[in-house]
């Protein structure tokens, strides 16, 4: 079965003055795929992700996300993606329900649809009783799980996760990845950056960026074979060195 491509990147170049942050990137992501985006700090991951999200325009090259060109149709792209980062998950001084309602409205959900989906989500997360609590009183693990759920509440075709599990305990990370799998099963493409190499093993395919270029791209087992390594950790070390 030919899979639908939701992200295509062709010859993407992004320069800041003389500095080349993204040097001729080429890759695509299929619908429903969990795509791991790896690289050392400063390798150009964040820049590439910002371009994919429509936050900044590429210097040259063609980037299609969810069927739209990010350089010219970023408004359409933005409606069809979800985003979550480790740095910020939800507004601390707003309650669980207020946060959900804010993001739902921003992403264009009607009040009726939101109420239905929101309540369903809270019951699933066992957070219904806590919906009036301020987010600041939740533990980090709960915040991240809730933030992920909020990011996919409007059922985007792609969700971008920027180091979503940073600082989270192993059990919660486990649960978090179960949620990622569930989203992918529902047809949502997951584009995830991480520094945890065990998480890289969970991805369908992985790219590793080094100095603004993509130096490796493939399934975790392909990469391990290619670099003759026992784990993704060794693959990463072989490349980043």
């Amino acid at each position: 079965m030919e899979k639908k491509k939701v992200i295509t990147v062709e010859n993407l170049v992004k320069k800041f003055g003389n500095f080349t942050a993204n040097d001729n990137l080429n890759f695509h992501v299929d619908q429903g795929e969990i795509f791991g985006f790896l690289g050392a700090n400063g390798a150009g991951k964040t820049t590439a992700m910002r371009i994919l999200c429509g936050l900044s325009a590429p210097t040259s090259g063609k980037v299609d996300v969810a069927g739209f060109d990010v350089s010219h149709q970023s408004e359409e792209v933005k409606k069809r993606i979800g985003y979550m980062s480790q740095k910020f998950s939800l507004f601390e001084d707003l309650s669980v329900w207020e946060n959900m309602r804010f993001f739902a409205t921003v992403y264009g959900l009607s009040a009726k649809v939101f109420k239905e989906r929101g309540e369903q989500l809270l019951h699933k997360l066992n957070l219904f009783e806590e919906r009036k609590r301020l987010v600041s009183t939740l533990s980090l693990g709960w915040k991240q799980k809730l933030a992920f759920s909020v990011a996919i509440l409007h059922q985007p075709s792609i969700v971008f996760l920027d180091e979503p599990t940073g600082g989270v305990d192993p059990i919660t990370r486990r649960q978090f990845w179960e949620m990622i799998y569930e989203a992918a099963d529902n047809g949502i493409t997951v584009f995830v950056t991480t520094h945890y190499m065990d998480e890289a093993e969970y991805c369908d395919r992985v790219t590793i960026m080094v100095d603004g270029r993509i130096d490796a791209l493939g399934t975790p087992s392909e990469l391990k074979k290619q670099f003759n390594a026992a784990s993704m950790n060794d693959v990463f070390l072989a490349l980043a060195r």
Binding site: L55, Y83, F88, F102, V106
Partner: protein
């Protein structure tokens, strides 16, 4: 539109949930105006003086009586010789000593001049100057009203603020300060907070347009600033009796204009400042100090050295204070303040242009 409303709602929640913000927004203006109105007063009331009367005739007694019944002075002691003057100052009991020369009324009748010495405690020079002026005024009015003619005596009348009440001056200044604080400082802090917490990124990635985000940030503060402006005017009117002689609509429109100016300045600060701390200090030092020192709020611009006078022209509140004073105290209409209004609009255009430029660079 729904998005925008949801955003403004979120901003209001941020404001109402943070007691410090609420304190700055609602309590501080009231406290400030009460402090400036009651405590820091530049008017004179019941200043303690001492009298050293070496003549003790009916004229000196009448003059003494006039001074004490004026309401400006109250007698603390009758001194008997000069050596008591300094101890009286040192005890902090009196601020001024009035010394009548011997044979005061005789001299006055014979030569037409008599000498009275006003010895002031000039460790507070402003107060000393004012006390001497007030006393001088009382003597002058006596000489003109009595049969003793001493040529033409100038009569000083303080226009627009007959009683020289400090609060008349304070209200426009406080208004400028509060609007600046609420609008510029609070918006710059709240925008940099989103940047600091990383939520700005999330908002920019969402379908919200940057303009919606900025307007949504600013809207609640426009409202708060106007509420503050109205409450300052109301406090001024009912507590201190400061009138609004001109059009209140025009006054509020000018307040709105100044608020927009302050907001654009706040946005500009937030594009430069990396975090809330920096934003706050920039607002404090770049905005509050010039407002207090150079706008003519406390120190009259006319008395400043030339470089500072020139500098004061680029302090937006200076123009706003002129506008407010003209409308409130003189009852002037737009025809009197159009120049200042245009200057304020010019500042708004400048700040908005700069912020848009900065914002675009940052998004690159």
């Amino acid at each position: 539109m729904n998005r925008f409303i949801a955003f403004v709602k979120k901003e209001f929640l941020h404001i109402f949930r943070d007691y410090r913000t609420m304190l700055i927004l609602f309590i501080m203006p009231i406290v400030q105006i009460l402090i400036f109105g009651f405590a820091i007063t530049t008017e004179i009331k019941d200043a303690s003086i001492a009298i050293l009367d070496k003549s003790k005739d009916e004229v000196t007694r009448e003059l003494t009586q006039k001074m004490l019944s004026s309401g400006y002075f109250k007698n603390d002691a009758y001194l008997t010789n000069e050596s008591q003057i300094e101890p009286a100052f040192n005890d902090q009991r009196v601020k001024m000593v009035v010394v009548f020369e011997p044979e005061f009324s005789q001299n006055l009748q014979k030569t037409g001049t008599a000498h009275v010495q006003l010895v002031c405690d000039a460790s507070d020079p402003n107060l000393a100057r004012m006390l001497s002026q007030f006393a001088d005024g009382i003597f002058t009015s006596y000489t003109t009203s009595s049969s003793v003619s001493m040529g033409i005596q100038p009569e000083v009348r303080m226009f627009y603020n007959e009683a020289l009440e400090g609060v008349y001056m304070s209200i426009p200044g406080i208004m400028a300060m509060i609007l600046m604080l609420v609008s510029a400082m609070m918006t710059s802090i709240s925008i940099t907070r989103e940047k600091e917490f990383g939520s700005m990124e999330v908002l920019l990635i969402s379908p919200l347009k940057p303009l919606q985000i900025i307007l949504g940030k600013v809207t609640p503060y426009v409202l708060m600033a106007l509420i503050n402006a109205v409450s300052i005017l109301a406090l001024g009117y009912w507590v201190f009796g400061v009138p609004v002689k001109g059009s209140i609509v025009l006054l509020l429109i000018e307040c709105l204009l100044f608020t927009i100016l302050a907001l654009s300045l706040g946005i500009l600060i937030s594009t430069v400042a990396k975090n809330q701390m920096v934003a706050m200090f920039m607002s404090m030092f770049a905005l509050m100090l010039p407002v207090i020192l150079l706008s003519g709020f406390i120190f009259p611009v006319e008395n400043m050295p030339l470089p500072l006078r020139i500098l004061s022209n680029i302090i937006p509140p200076k123009w706003f204070i002129i506008i407010v004073k003209t409308i409130m105290l003189k009852g002037g209409g737009l025809s009197y303040v159009w120049k200042e209004t245009l200057i304020l609009i010019g500042f708004v255009v400048l700040f908005v242009t700069l912020s848009v430029k900065k914002f675009k660079i940052r998004l690159q």
